[in-house]
Symmetry: C2
Subunit: 498 residues, 2 copies
């Protein structure tokens, strides 16, 4: 790859930008904490999915092999931590909707998948469910008990945090936060079963009304949320693995508790690189179920929400997400969507502009070499920008810059149609690769867009430009649009009905 500059990403554990230290031969593990499937997916879920989709797409574009594991939490995620009134989120929804817990899981897993598909998020390679790994979790806890890192009280098992902290004191995200927690929790400690307020449940005794329960060496119960991710990540990726990701709010206690378990279990620092994305602010306020501001994705796509002034194409939502740097907070509002809509349309128009101005080989007006150099310079900057901690907002600026440079040239009567073909191809291919393969945008399938693309196709057919024909075909195929050549000059669209 030309102009290849090694990618650097911010590691939340070491708090600095770090180069990726793996080869293209090995398979790189990425574990991301997926949703608890008890209600409709919202903009917060979309951000996590799109951010890690970008990472996976980019690593694959750089020819790295990735095994992307993102779990489905279907049991054990309780409504309130450290609280005796806690309730399993799935079970609460099941009671509310008067269906079985596994019907809740199926319903919202499908909605989550559907929303991600609309957002053009590539599916994870493995999508393990917590309830599907009970034997693995029991074996995991048994080993921790054996190593004295866990203890059994009244049918529940707790992790002995103090022992872990004595041995591996420096391997934490938020040392201060823990100390703080210790003080405050010490006073209001409710759970008398724990040796220390820092301890957390690996396995919980199931109360009689608990609908999802399994036999264990400690009685009938269910796994703790922190156990699930630690076990599924280790099971599929092995310890150590390279990347672990999630929202910034998961750093503590969830990821802290994962590190503690995996480290104690294996004696190895379990994860090389931690990636956390920033949170979403809906109209300036943090998403919260109780605040009812968690706008569902399907409602955004349909414009069904009091704060939205119209329905938004999923690609606009994808743009909105990538418009913020992944580590920053992200604003969600009707106004932010309006700005994102303009940005996305600008990128699409750039794509169309490039395709419509493919050089014919007949040069009417030579493009000055300074202009060519400028276009190539911007083109080459795309990967440099992403290599620096996946800086998508800067990438958008560069792409807009490329477009505005081309349009400025046109004003001086030097259209890119006059570029040497191989220069045009370099610019166009790179633009399309970043737009479609790496940023993951789809072309809008409106009748207008289809007609534009069809007319290009017909023209290319007429002129027998096979490479252009192939390009248009392959670009559209990714959108599930297939061109059928029937008889000469009678081409037609066929959509897959989806």
């Amino acid at each position: 790859m030309e102009n290849y500059i090694s990618t650097k990403l911010y590691n939340t554990l070491t708090k600095r930008l770090e180069p990726l230290l793996f080869s293209k031969e090995e398979k790189i593990g990425l574990y991301v904490c997926g949703p608890t499937v008890y209600s409709d997916p919202h903009i917060g879920h979309a951000r996590s999915a799109v951010v890690f989709d970008l990472l996976v797409r980019y690593l694959r574009y750089l020819n790295y092999k990735v095994c992307y594991v993102r779990n489905i939490t279907d049991v054990g995620h309780l409504t309130a931590n450290q609280n005796e009134n806690e309730e399993d989120k799935i079970i609460r929804s099941a009671k509310k909707e008067q269906i079985l817990p596994m019907e809740v899981v199926q319903k919202y897993t499908l909605r989550y998948h559907d929303a991600l598909e609309k957002l053009a998020v590539i599916p994870a390679d493995i999508e393990p469910r917590a309830s599907a790994h009970i034997p693995e979790q029991i074996a995991w806890i048994e080993k921790l008990i054996k190593k004295n890192y866990a203890y059994v009280v009244n049918g529940s098992v707790y992790f002995r945090s103090q022992k872990y902290r004595q041995k591996y004191a420096n391997v934490t995200f938020f040392k201060q936060k823990i100390e703080k927690l210790t003080e405050s929790e010490e006073k209001k400690i409710k759970n008398r079963e724990k040796e220390s307020p820092l301890d957390f449940a690996l396995w919980k005794l199931a109360p009689p009304q608990h609908l999802m329960r399994w036999d264990s060496p400690w009685g009938v119960g269910f796994p703790g949320w922190h156990t699930e991710c630690a076990v599924m990540a280790s099971h599929y990726l092995g310890i150590p693995f390279y990347f672990h990701g999630g929202g910034h709010d998961l750093c503590f206690p969830h990821h802290e508790c994962e590190i503690a378990q995996m480290h104690s279990h294996s004696n190895i620092a379990p994860v090389k690189h931690w990636i956390h994305h920033g949170l979403v602010l809906v109209n300036g306020v943090k998403i919260s179920k109780s605040l009812a501001n968690a706008v569902s994705l399907h409602n955004i796509f349909r414009g069904n929400h009091s704060t939205l002034r119209q329905a938004y194409n999923p690609m606009v939502v994808r743009y909105l997400i990538l418009q913020s740097h992944y580590r920053k907070g992200m604003q969600f509002s009707n106004q932010a969507l309006q700005i994102a809509k303009k940005g996305y349309e600008k990128l699409v128009n750039g794509w169309f502009y490039l395709l419509q101005n493919k050089p014919t080989g007949i040069i009417n007006n030579t493009v000055p070499s300074t202009a060519i150099d400028r276009l190539l310079q911007i083109t080459n900057s795309f990967s440099t920008i992403l290599n620096s901690d996946l800086h998508t907002p800067k990438l958008f600026v560069a792409m807009f810059n490329l477009i505005s440079n081309m349009r400025k040239m046109e004003k001086k009567n030097i259209s890119i149609i006059n570029l040497p073909v191989q220069i045009w191809e370099k610019i166009a291919n790179n633009y399309i690769r970043f737009f479609q393969d790496i940023l993951g945008f789809r072309i809008p399938k409106t009748p207008k867009m289809l007609n534009i693309a069809l007319s290009w196709y017909q023209q290319a057919k007429k002129n027998k430009e096979n490479s252009t024909i192939d390009r248009i075909r392959s670009l559209l195929q990714k959108e599930n649009i297939h061109i059928e050549d029937r008889i000469k000059s009678d081409h037609s669209w066929r959509y897959s009905i989806t």
Copy 2:
């Protein structure tokens, strides 16, 4: 419901048509054996999915509550039964594709879901995976051992078929077939572990190279295919449950072995009603992986197969499947698809014809009461026909009959536009309900169709026909097409990009 005639369905166990004996208050369980997700879904999978989709849609239309469970087999389905060289299908694919078994499962589960979505199949309510129910299967087998219906040999557990047959001799599908099997197997018996050739594995000792394995009281192993379905069905639906379905090829040994286990386990006849659909013949030959004639669904939708002369809309495939009665063999070929395409288009045109000829209230030419009676009679026959063992081919004939009657009237200058509005509504609503809600067809989303529908919409808007406007909106909403009213007389389509 007018003209309500109780539904009768064929029960494969009793070999006769039986009325449905449940109330609208109780939740009816339906368990269907789903795919083993080791390769692309083919026309055989589509038939099973569409047939049971029709059943569920019809039961729900009749206001019955259904809990539809269809499993995903992700472990334990071996390439050859009763053979020492047998290999797990998922593991074989994992080795071939050089990915983890669970990556195979994810890949083909997603392809299966995608194909079903294209075929407008409503998702199952619960979709349990075999590997996700290891503790339940171990507990199940332990109980069978305790009741002396199973025995352990060298780390594997076998079901003691003779004991079951002595106790419950009459509860089998294919008594003769078993006797035959006994004779022939007796001679070539290879598995020396079994007490009798009729016995089958509930749990198999895992050879060292087996990638999917779990601890059990009998050693490290994996569950047998027959165990999985029996356990998952019982777990989610409880014994007894009402419906169990699958392809006719599953009757023996799979369903036979399920009945045996569930009956022995619970002492109760486990399933009230067994439904089996006929098999698919591809160009006259039974589907077989070794014959490589299992045309994948995505290849049908894209026209990527040597025997197909074009790509086919998934709705044409759905029509093809419903064109055969579900218990009969079904022919799949390019020619059959061509015929199905014509049939589907005829149904769509009937739908358009009805909508385009909504009475205005101004009657120019009175429709004779005999003609009205004839139209109502045909309309009422739709549910009568489905009530008789879901006879979709006869339903298509009736729907065509309705359309041709309307067209014949037109030739005599008596268009249905002259019908009393409530008669038209009865006919149109019933047609649309059967076409869209029960048979589950989607409207093709071609630009031509969209333009037709848009022009109706505009007309209805102009004439302020609010009920027509609502109907068009709601019909199209089901297809994920939303009409946006921007400014007066400027309506436009918005597709969800899927």
